[in-house]
């Protein structure tokens, strides 16, 4: 398979994740979309690393995976906190900053 095939697959998954982020009303659903997008980026990094025979891209993938885990843990903690304060996880109802 060429590099093109992997990049296209990653682009499709990234756009599906973006669609989820834009259309989901539940905050946890939005986080799931973000996970999909980060996952697509990881596929890109590994594919470029493999097709350039350079291990640096894979090191970077290890870093992005760890940062994604930190992001998920923090994001879900914020969701739980929001839920405790506002009693909702729907993004539409979280409009405290609206003037």
């Amino acid at each position: 398979m060429g590099l093109q095939a992997y990049l296209t697959l990653a682009a499709v998954i990234f756009c599906i994740g973006l669609f989820g982020v834009m259309t989901r009303r539940n905050t946890i659903g939005i986080l799931l979309g973000i996970e999909l997008m980060l996952n697509a980026v990881n596929i890109n990094l590994v594919a470029f690393a493999r097709y350039n025979a350079d291990v640096t891209g894979m090191v970077f993938t290890v870093f992005t995976i760890c940062i994604t885990v930190a992001e998920a843990a923090l994001g879900l903690a914020i969701v739980i906190l929001l839920f405790r304060v506002r009693r909702t996880v729907m993004a539409d109802h979280l409009d405290l900053l609206k003037g």
Partner: protein, 164 residues
């Protein structure tokens, strides 16, 4: 060669199908299970790209870790609200248009440049090279990453702690 192509298409179908299920499924819990499938499929893609270590990390951290955390979050919020969290979407048309436009842009950019069609030969033992790179050239970012993980997890505990 044909086996490789078949495996790629199979993985690609599983990935795209489960990703679509993640963003379209009505039940949030089902969406998380589909996400687990998508992440496992990504580990398969990593295996196909000869990155065995990353495939293992992907399974352990993503499919094992993140999915568990998300399930916990759903269970906690569900218990608090006392009813099943249903997933509804809004502005599906607009979202689909924007996502499709972005996809078309990316794909046309990918097609514009000549890209390698076959992967070059790898240096022997990729995992060993990866470990060497992490602990020599990238040791400082690696330690910073450990600090970031500690800070993030402590922050998560601070946020989610029960009120006193």
């Amino acid at each position: 060669m044909t086996g490789e192509i078949l495996a790629f298409w199979g993985l690609g179908l599983v990935l795209v199908g489960s990703a679509l299920a993640v963003v379209l499924s009505k039940n949030l819990f089902h969406a998380v299970l589909w996400l687990a499938l998508a992440l496992t499929g990504t580990a398969g893609v990593f295996l196909q790209l000869d990155a065995e270590f990353l495939a293992a990390v992907q399974l352990l951290l993503y499919a094992g870790g993140i999915v568990t955390i998300v399930v916990f979050a759903i269970v906690v919020t569900e218990r608090l609200v006392g009813e099943r969290i249903s997933q509804t979407s809004r502005r599906i048309g607009g979202g689909a248009v924007v996502a499709a436009a972005l996809l078309a842009t990316i794909v046309s950019a990918i097609n514009r440049r000549p890209l390698p069609v076959a992967p070059p030969a790898l240096p022997a033992d990729l995992t060993r090279n990866l470990g060497d790179a992490v602990l020599t050239r990238f040791v400082l970012p690696f330690e910073l990453l450990a600090l970031l993980m500690l800070a993030a997890l402590m922050g998560a505990i601070y946020f989610a702690r029960p009120d006193d």
